[in-house]
């Protein structure tokens, strides 16, 4: 089986990569680029733990072929570590103990950051909708929802 060359912009850097037809975006992010914030949960699109941004849209990286991302822009949590909104969101998650086992936290943070870009005063319903595609097995949702609200509100100036 021939590998093919693709280029994906991951967290602002162009990465030339060799992929198989069956390689998914998550495989490339984790195994070739060592971006381990991207977790693999169910592999079937049911848990959302593998969420990343592709061209600014939240998607499940386990449901997308790597070759389909050729020429596109992918953002993972690692690429947002210096972003002020993400720093604030992380701070609220830590302060509220919103991470229990922590496995869903990277996906929760990236979905929350995506919400915070569009809204500084989200309602509880909007917050729940924004994270509705991500399952927290510890079910610590109250702390997560509180943290997202505080993180978004902190964006008001």
């Amino acid at each position: 089986m021939n590998k093919r060359g693709i280029t994906i912009n991951v967290n602002g850097t162009e990465h030339p990569l060799q992929v198989d037809g069956s390689d998914r975006l998550i495989d490339v992010l984790r195994d070739q680029l060592s971006l381990k914030s991207v977790k693999e949960g169910c592999s079937t699109g049911d848990c959302g733990i593998c969420a990343v941004l592709v061209d600014g849209k939240l998607v499940n990286s386990c449901l997308m072929l790597a070759a389909q991302c050729d020429g596109r822009r992918v953002t993972t949590l690692e690429g947002l570590l210096e972003d002020p909104t993400m720093k604030r969101m992380q701070g609220r998650f830590i302060a509220n103990n919103a991470a229990q086992c922590g496995f869903c936290t990277p996906a929760m943070l990236i979905a929350s950051w995506d919400l915070a870009r569009h809204s500084t005063e989200p309602s509880n319903e909007e917050i729940k909708l924004a994270i509705s595609g991500i399952l927290c097995r510890c079910t610590g949702y109250y702390q997560i929802v509180d943290s997202v609200r505080e993180g978004c509100e902190g964006g008001r100036r």
Partner: protein
């Protein structure tokens, strides 16, 4: 056995059967063909008799490949044909949706408020935001099972599908396109290009109901769509199209007998009760881990009442 219990269910994970099934989730290698444009894709599919499957967003295909429910040897990636196949257009009372229109596109469009709000209702309960951002209406239809939320919606609208191949195009009613569970009328050389339906005219409304074990990321136990048109008196049914994710077995379809029964009837409590019985008699449902056939049938009847009441209430100007 002297009262010694077998290992608790938690142990099951380690038996050899589970390990084998665990291994099968690794996807077999597959060749991916990335055509330059639609014509290139159609030419490729024409000249290739091998096991070819079209992939759009892949949100349904990839899990099925991992579970070995489908094992294509070549995938033809049409996801880059956004300019050709991703659009929402309205002209002369007809709405045309490109097959690569995403569920998020439907939700963002101003077109699906008012009498077509059923499409928004279905979109809001479809997968979850990160699935809606990529999942396409064409992929949902071509997956052709009772899990596909949009099939009953488009069936209730009497949608037609435009299928294209290198040799031309043809138009097929969606209700004839689905010929069985995961089985369609599509030829190996064809691609679904467009979903088309008439804007319901006159005194009409549409509504949708979905029951799952939770609100997001869930496959429906029952989903049911209704497009209702009343006569000038705002009471007599001119046309009722009810469609469900399962009518016979696991196949989405219009509830034909219920629809025939409703035509010409006044929408009254009596009529609704009779229509529920007709619906129950035409449903032949199986049980699975999501719900029993009897439960599905019960919910389908409840939803029929709800949909008829919601639509006639909206048409009647809330009188």
């Amino acid at each position: 056995m002297d009262g010694i219990e077998p290992p608790a269910s938690g142990m099951k994970f380690f038996n050899s059967e589970s390990l084998i099934s665990f291994q099968t989730v690794v996807m077999s290698t597959v060749e991916l063909y990335s055509p330059t444009d639609l014509n290139d894709a159609l030419r490729f599919m024409e000249h290739d008799g091998r096991n070819v499957t079209v992939v759009a967003s892949g949100t349904d295909l990839l899990p099925r490949m991992r579970r070995k429910q489908i094992s294509p040897s070549i995938l033809v990636d049409i996801s880059s044909f956004k300019e050709d196949l991703r659009y929402i257009r309205q002209s002369d009372g007809t709405i045309r949706l490109g097959a690569l229109t995403t569920v998020a596109d439907l939700l963002e469009s101003p077109m699906f408020h008012g009498r077509l709000s059923m499409i928004r209702e279905a979109g809001k309960l479809f997968g979850a935001p990160q699935v809606r951002n990529v999942a396409t209406i064409g992929g949902n239809i071509c997956s052709a099972s009772s899990s596909e939320d949009l099939i009953p919606v488009f069936m209730a609208l009497d949608a037609r599908l435009k299928l294209v191949s290198a040799r031309g195009e043809r138009s097929v009613p969606l209700k004839d396109f689905i010929v069985g569970k995961r089985a369609t009328d599509m030829k190996p050389s064809e691609i679904l290009a467009e979903v088309e339906f008439s804007l319901p005219g006159g005194h009409s409304w549409t509504a949708y109901e979905k029951l799952g074990r939770r609100n997001m990321l869930i496959i429906a136990i029952v989903n049911e769509a209704l497009s209702l048109t009343l006569e000038e008196d705002l009471r007599t049914v001119r046309s009722a199209k009810v469609a469900l994710n399962r009518v016979s077995g696991k196949i989405p379809a219009l509830a034909a007998r219920t629809n025939d029964f409703l035509e010409g009837k006044m929408v009254t409590e009596e009529t609704i009760a009779q229509a529920q019985k007709v619906l129950a008699s035409e449903l032949s449902l199986t049980s699975d881990f999501r719900g029993s056939g009897a439960y599905r049938k019960e919910i389908a009847q409840v939803y029929l009442k709800r949909l008829l009441e919601r639509c006639s209430w909206q048409i009647g100007g809330h009188s």
